[in-house]
């Protein structure tokens, strides 16, 4: 999830005397919705600018060359463009420019909303054609190019005896790269996406191939764990091309158990207990009635549906199911036939993804499992007040946290997105131990330790990307 550019822009904007009178949040709102009653036209012009050049990446050599051109190491001549393209390229990029421009990566599927500050006059990389997957011959891992679709990775891995532990909580048609420079919500019961990344193959801001981490083994005790510190912002430090991903072996037996709850007061303690379950649980997916209707339109939705994916030996799965039934005290019905969102044919997955993508998402809320039902009740009440029916997808993690993605049936305009995000923020503040981690929430956050960490991150970016090529920071 790229963030530093927006954050830096806001930090610099609040220092501008003309804008300093605005309180920080009002300024963020004005920037986010491009409010021309508050902001000068030039600034609005900057915010509405789109990268003039999009390069469809086929191989990494093209990216290397492009980066070297952008940071001045090579001339545009070496790009080998036709005369017409060459002229267009030079004109649009404003070679001989007076302000920074660089390269940015376009997520294939964005769950929430676009960034406040787009790439200014630079180049956008489109990785949809850079989508190879190379499975290891021996060992449970693969190198996936950033354009590779998660669903394809999941299906092909299963066919080859591997199991991809991380699944998208909101089952959209994400590419692997969307977790590195987008906002794809991959996670498993045991950890987030980053836990399954051994390494990234990247192009450095100097156009070199740079591997961050180790493709075949984990990254421990090798000086600073730069890989995991930068994964959520990877696209602002390097240009990620492929991810070396760690899988698990396909279990001898897999089973998805579906539990229905009609009472949030029973759901929350059951989730809390379930989060203490231990190994054998691959993922736990929770939906309310609105989300369930989108995922399974043919089945009458229950108030709350909890799907638990178990993996074990053929004999062990029965024992696990028995223990699970005890943990899920208070469920209304249980069955093993309801399809899960992931193990479906690719066409059905895409159809569901298209339906789910129509909703307006505001980002992730990490909420303690035992408060989940209560939280959801407040979100729905807020939706009703805002004339936008609210629902949620969530995945449970063994830390006792429900990674929740509230959504609204509302048009995706920026004013609505902002106001609904602010409403969610107000609700989250009432739940101890909960955190709203959307990009807007980052910009609103003024806790001193957070600001310090962001400042250090920015310094690190400026050191690593001294050439100002990878999503260079912009000032108003």
């Amino acid at each position: 999830m790229g963030l530093l550019r927006d954050w830096n822009y806001v930090e610099k904007a609040v220092q501008i005397p003309a804008l300093a009178e605005l309180i920080r949040e009002a300024l963020i709102r004005a920037l986010f919705v491009r409010d021309d009653r508050v902001l000068p036209p030039d600034l609005i012009g900057d915010l509405n600018r789109v990268p003039p050049v999009t390069v469809k990446v086929k191989e990494d050599a093209e990216v290397r060359k492009l980066v070297r051109v952008l940071n001045g190491q090579e001339s545009t001549v070496s790009l080998g463009l036709s005369a017409e393209d060459y002229h267009y390229f030079r004109t649009q990029l404003g070679v001989g420019r007076t302000r920074e421009f660089g390269v940015t990566m376009r997520p294939r599927t964005l769950l929430t909303y676009d960034w406040i500050v787009p790439e200014q006059r630079g180049v956008q990389l489109d990785f949809t054609g850079y989508a190879g997957i190379e499975f290891a011959e021996d060992g449970h891992r693969a190198i996936a190019q950033v354009g590779a679709l998660w669903k394809r990775l999941y299906d092909e891995a299963l066919a080859q005896g591997h199991y991809v532990p991380f699944v998208p909580t909101v089952p959209l048609d994400f590419a692997v790269g969307d977790a590195l420079y987008g906002d794809a919500p991959f996670s498993s019961f045991r950890g987030g996406f980053a836990s399954y990344v051994n390494a990234l193959r990247t192009i450095s801001p100097y156009g070199q191939r740079a591997r961050i981490g180790f493709e075949e083994v984990a990254n421990h005790g090798t000086a600073y764990d730069l890989l995991h510190a930068t994964i959520p912002l990877a696209g602002e430090f390097f240009i990620p091309l492929s991810a070396a991903l760690r899988f698990e072996a396909k279990p001898a037996a897999r089973k998805t158990l579906t539990y229905a709850f009609d009472d949030p007061a029973k759901l929350s303690p059951a989730l809390d207990k379930l989060s203490r379950f231990g190994p054998g649980v691959n993922w736990v997916h929770v939906t309310d009635a609105l989300a369930a209707k989108i995922l399974r339109p043919a089945i009458a939705p229950e108030a709350f549906t909890v799907q638990v994916s178990l993996g074990a030996t053929a004999t062990g799965i029965a024992a696990k199911e028995k223990t699970l039934d005890v943990a899920m005290t208070g469920f209304k019905t249980k069955n093993a036939e309801t399809p899960n969102p992931y193990d479906v044919p690719v066409d059905a997955y895409r159809k569901t993804a298209d339906a789910a993508a129509r909703s307006l998402f505001v980002g992730e809320v990490r909420v303690p499992a035992k408060s989940f039902g209560d939280f959801l009740g407040k979100v729905r009440a807020f939706g009703d007040q805002s004339a936008a029916k609210a629902g949620a997808y969530a995945s449970l993690q063994e830390t006792g946290t429900a990674s929740t993605y509230p959504f609204f049936s509302a048009p995706k305009d920026r004013i609505k997105m902002y106001d609904l995000s602010r409403g969610i923020r107000a609700i989250v503040a009432r739940f101890p131990g909960a955190a709203f981690t959307s990009r807007l929430a980052h910009l609103w956050e003024e806790e001193p330790n957070f600001l310090r960490r962001m400042t250090l991150m920015r310094s690190l970016k400026l050191e690593i990307d001294a050439a100002h090529v990878v999503q260079p920071l912009v000032v108003p």
């Binding site: 450095s204 005790g221 696990k320 006792g400």
Partner: protein, 506 residues
Amino acid sequence: MASLDYAYRRLVNTLGPERVARSEFERMVYSHDFASLPKIALLQWRLYPDFVALPQTTEEVAALVKLSDESLLQITPRGGGTGWCGGSVPNRGGVLVDMRKMNHVLALDPDARTVTVEAGATWKEVEDFVESKGFALPTVPLNAIGSTVGGAINSGSTGFGGLRGGSLRDAIANLDVILPDGTLLKTASQADSGGQLANLTPLFLGAEGTLGIVTKAVLRIVPKPEVSKPLTYSFSDLATAARFLKGIVDAALTPYHAALMDRDHFVFERALRADSPDPTDLALVAVQGSKDDVADQEKAMDGLAAKEKGTKLPATIGDRLWRDRYNNYSARRLSRGLMISYNLVPLRGLPAAVEKAAEIRDKLKLNGSVQAHVVDTTTAALDPYVLMDDTKPSGGTALGFVKRMVDAAFKMEGHPMGLGLFLVFNLRKMHGNATSAYSAVKGVFDPRKKINGGKTFEVWTKYPWPGLRAIPPPGMAIGLEVAAILRRLKPTRDRFVRAYEHTKEG
């Protein structure tokens, strides 16, 4: 630079006389870590600190760091001293900050499932505490008895529980770190378990104390399992035991721990304690869960072991090995010194890797044991140890073993663990073109190289003269390579245990 007497007075004013040491004996104790250093190392580095300081609070640590602006003395943080590559040993004297007086468990939050501990607490102390409250740690470093929380974080340890509980990185919710400017940094937002809110914790994993001094950690805890059962299997050779470990992962089983030890380890143990298990190449697997679950896992393990023609050993052996699991290097008493080479290698290549480690050990005519454990579904830690006597002229040449093991790990697409004085030459080999990005991290956090400098991107020496102040990291590699060559030229094998040669033949 202020005089040492002035610096001493300032330190005493800050901590009190009882928590600042400057006697030669006390300084000598801190001049090495778990690995034995040959005396020749004193020609290159000032391994003895000028002072040893023992802070008790985060504020005192901050004061010590700020004091170094006046005294211009280097700061070297140190935990239990269980490292093996000189990460917590001074290279230019200075102030060694021993964190072991900050050893309290501060709070356990059963709702958030976290425990807050000071960095000087040992993992065993923390484990005992959380177990008394009905919880467990998801992962515990190998030397849990001596290894402190801060020390393990700085060395980026692996250990028990990784396959099931995830990495140490995943087990840390937050850290309090005193940065080189003397300010306190909280590395993450505690509520944000996924680290989206600018999580800097990973930067301190494996940093060897070069970015700041960790004073407090918030660690995740998990419910204590209902049943925990160690199982041991004997195999015809170590490569077969390694195939068994790989088979566990291929069968999608997730025991709490899966490790192997060669017969030599038990030869050493037998020399120390007559009642230790019979020497054999064995695998130790600990399964945890509900009663039914443990029974099912045990059955599955038995099946996998049978496939490799392994023999299940009596439960008493497993129980004993499990009880003593944190005390793995008693063989050190046979030789006065011991050197561990800690490497991560691909799990797929573990059978070949253990054979290679044994080959290197034998070629260098060393006594030692090959050990390994599963870290995750792609990774195994290969951590053989060799015995050495650094009081003998040939003793220091055993360091060549580490160099040869590191080279082998790289060839196997793995990497060594740790940097410090001895392994600093590996950094560029490990990270290639990305090395400059790693050096940027040090530049951002510690631009004046106040804390544990000269151990990552350059090797500082004790000499103040230009040209000799620092040597390029490859220089260290050459030194260790020479040690390995001298070792090979040695006409006879070490004989710390009389039975050893016999065992090798049998």
